[in-house]
């Protein structure tokens, strides 16, 4: 009976109009249910922040990063949060280029890399233990991960108000099946590489088209940005040659 009344109360918010977090119906309902108050979204660097309705990464969510610039985008997404004092755990990306993380603006003193066992249960137990201390987790899930365990991990992420960024690592050819029910899907594809030509110069900049959609996103947003983001520590060098458009 009570549930039905609550459901009736929620329904108006499920319309097309985007719900602002931290105000209005949702907050009201949360206080009634005694749920933990929502914490402010984690900050995101300027060019990427415009892709999110809330202006940042909403805590408790799972973000799936795909596309050929998935890892760079995931690092760029977590950069501002680590600068603000959050810790970043990178799980199962043994070949992570730390220099790239620094260029993306990640505070390197707050990166921890973890290599949990590949078996589904142990993997989830380890990541769930990390969630206790880390606000942002970039994970490359193993192929053995079951949907059940993935769901369990997402529940933990929600309870601890962390952000889980699932990246698709390039095996150059195939895409890994994603067992996570992601709240947001971030697709980052490189559209142009600047600086490289037949034998000369080198890559100075990449232009990436980022598309954010998903079940927690009322309308897909798309933007073209350059990586590394201009706000990060290394400013992109001016490029004289025309970009190599793919």
């Amino acid at each position: 009976m009570r549930l039905r009344r609550l459901a009736a109360y929620v329904r108006p918010s499920l319309g097309r109009t985007p719900v602002r977090y931290g105000e209005g119906v949702t907050t009201d309902l949360r206080t009634r249910l005694g749920a933990p108050t929502l914490r402010a979204p984690l900050p995101v660097v300027a060019p990427l922040a415009e892709l999110f309705v809330e202006g940042g990464l909403v805590r408790g969510r799972t973000v799936a990063c795909t596309g050929d610039a998935a890892l760079s985008t995931a690092l760029a997404l977590s950069a501002a949060a680590t600068r603000a004092g959050s810790w970043l755990a990178v799980v199962d990306v043994p070949n992570l280029g730390i220099a790239a993380a620094i260029e993306a603006g990640v505070a390197v003193e707050r990166i921890v890399l973890a290599q949990p066992p590949r078996a589904s249960r142990e993997w989830v137990t380890t990541v769930a233990a990390l969630v206790e201390g880390f606000d942002v987790l970039i994970v490359a899930p193993p192929a053995s991960l079951s949907a059940n365990d993935a769901r369990r991990l997402q529940t933990r992420i929600m309870a601890r108000q962390a952000v889980l960024i699932v990246v698709e690592l390039p095996t150059l050819t195939s895409a890994m099946p994603n067992v996570f029910a992601s709240d947001l899907d971030v697709r980052a594809d490189t559209v142009a590489w600047s600086g490289i030509e037949q034998g000369g110069s080198h890559i100075t900049q990449r232009t990436v088209q980022v598309l954010v959609e998903g079940r927690r996103c009322t309308s897909p947003r798309e933007r073209t940005i350059t990586l590394p983001c201009p706000t990060s520590s290394v400013a992109p060098s001016p490029c004289s040659t025309s970009p190599h458009v793919l």
Binding site: D68, A69, A70, L71, S72, L75, G85, S86, W87, N95, L96, G97, I98, A99, A100, A101, I102, E103, V108, E109, R110, I111, V112, L113, A114, Q115, P116, P117, T125, T126, A129, L130, V131, E132, G133, F134, D135, L169, P170, L172, T173, T190, W193, G195, I196, E197, Q198, G199, S201, H202, I203, T204, Q205, R206, P228, S233, V234, P236, H244, L246
Partner: protein
Amino acid sequence: MPDIVGRAVAMLDVPTRVVVVQFPHWSSFALTLGRSARSAFEPVVRAVVAHAPLVEVTAPGVIVFATRGPSRYVGGDQPLAALIHSSVASAVGALFGVGIADGRLAAGIASHHALRAGEPVVVPANESSRWLATAPVRALVDCVEVIGAVGAGVPGADDVASYRDVVSLLERLGLYRFGDVAALDEAHLVARFGAFGRDLSRLSRGLDRHPPLVGEPPPDRVCLLQFDGPVESRDTVVDAAEKLASQLIDHLAAQGMAMVRLHVVIESDHGERSERMWYRSDGFSARAVIESLRWQLDAWILHDAPTSGVVMVRLSPEQLVVNTGRQSALWGGERDGDRHAQRAVRRVADMNGADSVTVPAWRGDRDPARTFQFVRSDAVDLERRTAGDAVDLATGQWRGALPSPAPSLVFDVAADAPQVRVLDALGRSVMVDARHAMSADPVSVCIDDDIYDVIAWAGPWPVEERWWDSRRARRAVRLQLLVRQRDDRRGDASPVRAVTSRAIVVVLERRTWRLAALYA
């Protein structure tokens, strides 16, 4: 009456005669052994402990202990130094020096002299301050571990870098030797360097950094942790001690004191003991106490293999200093988030082994995969970690390293980098001659039976390392490639987005191309 007190303080304010055993490049040596700096150092500690039961391991690579007991036992400082030198030399094959002098700084500098001389250096008793007066102030930089960090008085997170700043300033002021600094009024040094000026003045005069505390020592300083039965699990011991340590630190802080030396004794049910001294020039935090205890426990369990569980842990502060507020400057940055992260890391390390959780640390190399090394998380104090532990790329980038932007996935060419084939238009493998000229332009790349067309390329960039050493010399050539997978299935109506195009870096070494990096 004040005169009596003054004289008493002056009598107390005599530096202890100490032995310093110092390995200047310990962490890089440990790396060549493939072990963490701490665990690799344990055999050295054991070699020294055989002759001097109570030693202080300040950092991996530095051992300090008082000469008084051991030197009387073996019949003087000279024989003691020779004994320590020979037993350490037989334990490990790294460069080291043994120095004996009054006070930590003089002994530290003596150990550096010993390193160059290849035999121990003993400064005669009561002559250290005169000996020190002729030593260059530059030597401060070599003794960071022995005398401790500069502290909050001088800006700069990195300890060695801030000592360099101090030394360069002193030299620009025309003060080249410790004697010149000692001749100055302490007040002038304090005015120029802040709180560190006082320490600098004391050090230059051959005294220890911290003046002794006078006054009645409160009786309740020693913390004793006794278990009802022998405890086998290391974590239980550490968890129990954690509460005790924070009580001890809080208790001292409430009295306006900080602890710089800590004596830790662990005893098993069968009476086996492990005791060690620990030193932190900036004062112990509760975490630092626990970190020391863990280190000692690990070493004890691994090397002595005690036959029963732990029944007793004793933490006794050996040297207290007036808490000058330096702590708040250093620890003020600590947040709840840092503590939570540290705890989570420790839990995961206990679950899957300490090797499974690592933190990056700058090493410096041309190879993108070797620019940073991954240090076991238990070997670093995460709460004290600063960005200085990983040098920023602007100052730390090596010549010949990959240009910015950096690839987000890197593969160790010497270890696990996948093999690839780089082919020219005729399908022959592209080769590079001695003058770094390619046999032909690269046209396609084969990775795992998949063929990629080369859209653009940059290079070749030669990598020549250690050409002066024929055994360790390395010649390689790098190419940056922009590739797109060759579309064999023309019938598929694949959307434009599905075309995977990637930037990669391939390395040719010993006639084999390998995938070195990937811009993901």
